[in-house]
Amino acid sequence: MSIENTHLQIQEGLSEDYNNVRLFPEVKNMTIIGGTNKSGDIEPYSICCQSGDIICLVGPTGSGKSRMLGDIESLAQGDTPSGRKILINGEIPSSSLRTSAIGLIAQLSQQMNFVVDLTVREFIALHAESRLIPDPENIIDLILKTANNLSGEQFSPDVSLTQLSGGQSRALMIADTALLCPSPVVLIDEIENAGVNRKNALELLVKEGKITFVATHDPVLALMGSRRLFFKNGGIAGIIIPDEEERLAMRYIQKVDDQWTSWRDQIRNGGVLHLDDSKKKIYNRLIL
């Protein structure tokens, strides 16, 4: 079953209660209106993001990426240290939207863990229950399949969450967030965990029509964005829109990254690396 079909089913299967869970309107776009950086200088940018956009946040540690994610998460209205303002569909979000606990914004970060002691299947069923989905079997299967695709190492639905490897649990979190979290906006803080196909992960979120913000030091992820915000001294110091040249470079880096992943998997599984003659030539030239 395709993702679209499953989603349709979810929508149809929802009871009246659903309105109590989904406290937010459809989000077509989100606008970030600049505030000030750490020295109090004006941040002369206003960024409008559409459903399906990936915005990458780059910059050295401490440059203000997390501060930006925090502003988005709390739908800042000039009331945070940065003075930024966030608009939803061009309007100031209502206070109930700002305080709703099952929020507009979902988050994925490196320090997040599963803490419940359940099997993977029970866990997804539990999440589905809180979304009031009456017959969760389809969505459980879909999330499992997707998570297994994202993670190099397969896992079964009957394994306990606490037994998953770092890559497996990251993959499950991503698949679950994309397919079962109602939030139209996703914030990602560093997912360069080995063992997750990052490209497929981002594509999955885009396909689900989410607006995705990714704070990262990873060039593969950073180049994948439709825009790249460069941070310095607590504020946006520049916005880069990838051009043809960058796109070409990205495809190359992607290839190297894929090659790297496949080598890593081979070695991890007891394999031996083989190079054909043309590869040998290329590598010999490259390492000179």
């Binding site: 869970v21 925090g70 709390s74 979902a106 970060s109 997040m112 863990n113 809180s130 979290c181 939030s183």
Partner: protein, 227 residues
Amino acid sequence: MKLVTVAGPPSSGKTSVILHTIRELKKAGISVGVIKFDCISSGDEDTYQAAGVPIHIGLAGNLCPDHYFVSNIEECVSWGLKENLDLLITESAGLCNRCSPHIRGILGICVIDTLSGINTPKKIGPMLRLSDMIVITKGDIVSQAEREVFAFRVGRANPSAKVIKINGLTGQGVLPLADEMKNTPDTITVNDCSLRFAMPAALCSYCLGEIRIGRDYQMGNVKRMEF
């Protein structure tokens, strides 16, 4: 003076949340003091003092902290008035899950953390069920799905409360709580106010300190198991 009661399980993040809220309220020129109810001494006195917050500690010893709270809250209010506070916050560690310090007509907040387990919202009883606002902390370290499940269950346990998320480490999300406190009406006295929930009273000799086992030592309202 405004009065707010904050209750929640031990280590749920009450002190962290209160301190961030006070920082926000201070910006608006509001002076805030805290009364902390605990069983045995905690390091909270130093924490509040270090933040320049007037603090008074009440140690309940072997009494239920909420019972101790209700017998002393009037004097707490007098202390707050004497200290010229604009807002007095009481912080109590809810321990027995059967009691609650929340008073009718006085803003009651419950602080609960996502690490405490997904069944906790159902278990912790009146201090959550009868609060006006529920603060969920520690969402930064659990998966998005667990945050949602937790918030959903909190909403089920108390459908009428406002539920907000606060990161007790960074203070992110504290503004709606500060606003709620700012907008709560003044209280001159709690004399003649009522608790929202009748606390289970001392029922038997064991509540009064008895430790020996045997029918001879049992007095009062004793309930026996059936076999």
